[in-house]
């Protein structure tokens, strides 16, 4: 274990990279989730089709494959991202596809009565989404988004395979340098668990904040 301690600076670096990668791709994924998820309700067919193509592509292939593609193949066409950015893009685009389905189904879960009430009050299409459906859908999304955040954190470990110096990658360096196996892996498993538990806690916090003074749709209609 002392040997591992010697490597604590790079472990800390790796932890920071992992957190950066997670948060930056979370922001990206969140934006994509809303844009693509709401695009599915567009009246323009082309927009809907584009959203579905994006969704099926990123949901249908493996995240690892997407990363390798972005890291090794795109540069051959002159599109070169720095590794961290490539990682953020790959993680964000991948999780965004799942997130867009969360947004879509949360909006769909708002009861038909709410759609009809908005129509009866003569809200425009935009107003209906902006002031009625989305505000009610957001609390529904939060727990699922919380789970996706954990998925995202775990996905960043895969980024070590495209040479991003995240936590997992650092554990590999330590292995080479120290010839230890159990300890480096154990240490990073604990760090991952701590990070994800913080994320879980954070989600619960947001969940509580959003449910305050509001009512979820599951309860009595009205």
């Amino acid at each position: 274990m002392e040997q591992i301690l010697e490597y604590s600076p790079i472990l800390i670096q790796g932890t920071i990279t992992t957190i950066e990668l997670t948060l930056a791709s979370a922001v990206l994924a969140l934006i994509i989730s809303f844009v693509v998820g709401l695009a599915r309700f567009s009246s323009l067919r082309i927009v809907r089709v584009a959203a579905i193509v994006y969704l099926e592509f990123f949901r249908g292939t493996s995240a690892i494959v997407q990363m390798f593609f972005m890291f090794y193949v795109l540069p051959l066409f002159g599109v070169t991202f720095p590794p961290l950015l490539a990682g953020i893009l790959a993680c964000g685009l991948n999780l965004g596809s799942y997130g867009s389905e969360v947004v879509r189904s949360a909006v769909l879960s708002v009861s038909k009565g709410q759609h009809e009430a908005a129509l009866a009050l003569n809200y425009t299409n935009y107003q209906r989404f902006r002031y009625v459906l989305i505000p009610q859908a957001i609390p529904v999304m939060i727990p699922t988004f919380g789970n996706l955040l954990i998925e995202l954190l775990k996905l960043t470990a895969v980024a070590s395979l495209i040479t991003i110096s995240d936590l997992t990658f650092m554990s590999q360096i330590i292995r080479v340098q120290t010839a230890l196996t159990l300890e480096p892996f154990l240490v990073i498993l604990v760090i991952y668990f701590i990070i994800s538990s913080v994320l879980v806690w954070f989600t619960k916090l947001v969940e509580r904040k959003f449910s305050k003074g509001r009512h979820t749709i599951t309860a009595k209609e009205g």
Binding site: E116, A120, N122, Q127, Q136, R214, G222
Partner: protein, 258 residues
């Protein structure tokens, strides 16, 4: 008398089920109508068509001398655009059986927001009006409560206030008390009784509360199988219905009254 609503030969089917069959009917300006009839007879469908929540298959619906589902163009009548429907909806307000208040907004904001968004009313003016309406339905002190903090009857009264806030010429009420516990029914019906005094607004109410219908309505329409079987003054319909079908239907309720 001036007609404000007119159904001209309107038909409507859901799949194989024809719900409205060549329906002709009209409602005069300011009239208070009670729609009664067995379950599945198409009462709700009529209100939903007026609120543009359902389309029609054939025929015409006229509101305030303008086609609801059609638009006059150079080359004749064509299906109404969303823009036209938006305009037409200004005439109509609806209160639902399930209240459908916005659960993420408190009572007063439920009433303020539609005014601001739809009519562009200034927020301060909208709030003043909302307060007046809450007073009208007896809920001044519940302004800051969220729907889930209100009883069913209170929610329904807020929903009525919300619909009134947009000042529609026509108000539709679809069994507004049937989702309520029996003891809460009266508080809502009392609000409707007050509203009935307003002679400008046309009101259509679907209800199973025959006593209420009798007090409230200028005219009762008895529906069965998508057609009007009988129509007339409530006293007449409830005491001496002409049609056997009407009599049959009313027996279930009249037993309570007579």
């Amino acid at each position: 008398m001036e007609k404000i609503i007119e159904f001209q030969n309107v038909s409507k089917s859901f799949g194989d089920l024809q719900v409205l069959k060549n329906l002709d009917m009209h409602v005069n300006k300011g009239e208070k109508i009670a729609l009664i009839g067995p379950s599945g007879s198409g009462k709700t469908t009529i209100l939903r068509i007026l609120m543009t929540l359902e389309t029609i298959d054939s025929g015409h619906v006229v509101i305030n001398e303008d086609y609801l589902w059609h638009q006059q163009t150079g080359s004749g009548l064509v299906a109404a655009s969303e823009k036209h429907l938006h305009q037409m909806r200004e005439n109509v307000g609806m209160v639902f059986q399930q209240f459908n208040l916005f659960p993420h907004l408190d009572a007063i904001t439920n009433i303020v927001e539609p005014q601001v968004l739809v009519k562009g009313t200034d927020r301060v003016d909208a709030t003043v009006k909302a307060q007046k309406l809450l007073a009208l339905v007896g809920l001044e002190e519940k302004a800051k409560h969220y729907p889930h903090e209100l009883s069913g009857g209170q929610q329904q009264r807020v929903a009525i206030a919300r619909a009134l806030a947009l000042e529609p010429k026509i108000m539709l009420f679809d069994e507004v008390t049937s989702a309520l516990d029996p003891e809460l029914v009266d508080e809502v019906l009392n609000v409707l009784r007050v509203l009935a005094a307003d002679t400008d607004t046309t009101m259509l109410t679907v209800t199973h509360e025959m006593n209420f219908a009798r007090e409230f309505a200028d005219r009762v329409l008895f529906f069965d199988k998508g057609q009007i079987v009988e129509s007339g003054h409530p006293e007449k319909i409830f005491t001496t219905p002409e049609e056997p079908r009407t009599r049959n239907f009313l027996k279930k309720f009249i037993k309570d009254i007579a």
